[in-house]
Symmetry: C2
């Protein structure tokens, strides 16, 4: 029993050290050896806990999705009656989290690390994030996304969550758009045009609620 506890503690300690590393140097630069040094282990010992760098990254991605989902859950959005306000609250919470944890954001939504392919086990974690937006924005139909082919594709999840198909497709696109906005801001692509991007982001949220028919 004790053995298992110690193991779990070491596991957590490594993840924590990795998180610290990533916050400074970014995900692509994550070094197994540096983590080992930080937790006071020799490099090879790390591999007792994570068989490969990729495994460590996957664990971190899952964790980051969880952190983000939690930030959305505790934004107070779900206590709001007005759907437009609710969507805006979610959007702002997303942005605040992303700006506070840019490297975690990039870990999830950025270019995969060289050769890295997100494994299936990260999908439920990603869904935990999407669900907040779907529940808020996909209740009604959205004209531009009203196509039979598209509805058939998103049918399963729309059905499972009791949502409107065209609304569901629209929200999926709007999540991607939101991520695009934040990626651009973090990468500094707005410098010279709309940086700081606060006003642009607020206008963007207004546009989204209009598109989704929430206002």
């Amino acid at each position: 029993m004790k053995r298992a506890e110690a193991r779990e503690q070491m596991h957590a300690q490594i993840l924590s050290a990795a998180r610290q590393e990533i916050a400074v140097h970014g995900g692509g630069a994550l070094s197994m050896r540096a983590i080992a040094r930080e937790v006071g282990l020799v490099s090879s010992a790390i591999y007792r806990y994570f068989p490969t760098r990729e495994a460590l990254l996957t664990a971190m991605i899952t964790e980051s999705y969880g952190n983000l989902a939690e930030a959305l859950a505790s934004s107070g959005a779900d206590r709001k009656r007005n759907l437009a306000r609710r969507w805006e609250t979610l959007g702002r919470a997303f942005r605040v989290w992303s700006m506070s944890n840019p490297h975690e954001f990039q870990l999830i939504y950025g270019t995969p690390i060289p050769g890295y392919v997100a494994p299936a086990e990260t999908i439920p974690a990603a869904e935990a994030v999407a669900v907040h937006f779907l529940a808020t924005g996909a209740q009604g139909p959205v004209g531009a996304f009203n196509s039979t082919a598209l509805s058939r594709q998103v049918g399963p999840i729309a059905g499972a969550l009791d949502l409107n198909p065209s609304g569901t497709a629209a929200v999926i696109a709007e999540i991607a758009a939101l991520v695009g906005m934040l990626t651009a801001e973090i990468a500094g692509h707005f410098v010279g045009t709309a940086d700081p991007a606060d006003h642009l982001f607020e206008a963007f949220l207004r546009r989204q609620t209009t598109t989704l028919g929430l206002s």
Copy 2:
């Protein structure tokens, strides 16, 4: 004279080899030594042409922006009278280019390579891409983006290109949204919901032309 020619040829040869490397392994995995091997040089000789890996990446980014801008220019969009059709043509050309050159796309719009910061010299190259969308979509006002603070920020470029300020801000956001859509598709984030994403993308373009008041 001959000397300078040979140097320029070697320069181009290295870039070409790097491009080939990137197409296979992605930007983060770009190896100076592998490039050297491919062009038949010893590793240290590469540094006669690019003082650092970062310099090589910058050169590649600029080149990629150029390729993308050229793909947009030769899409035939600017021959179209109908602005909505024109925007859709640009969007589709962007998507085709991105799907054909995913690693180049990620080089430009993805997570910066560990420790890499896009230097100022890539900005004009990025503008060459944006200009196509601005010229097409930013002629009229867009309600959600009509704020004085925002208009003041984008004022300079809107003025320089003789565009509507709120329309300009809207197009900037829509470019980011478009990039977000393509990033998600390339990263496989639509798998399980809307993959293949053709229909979602077409609906997305419809939504954009509506938002921008082009239809």
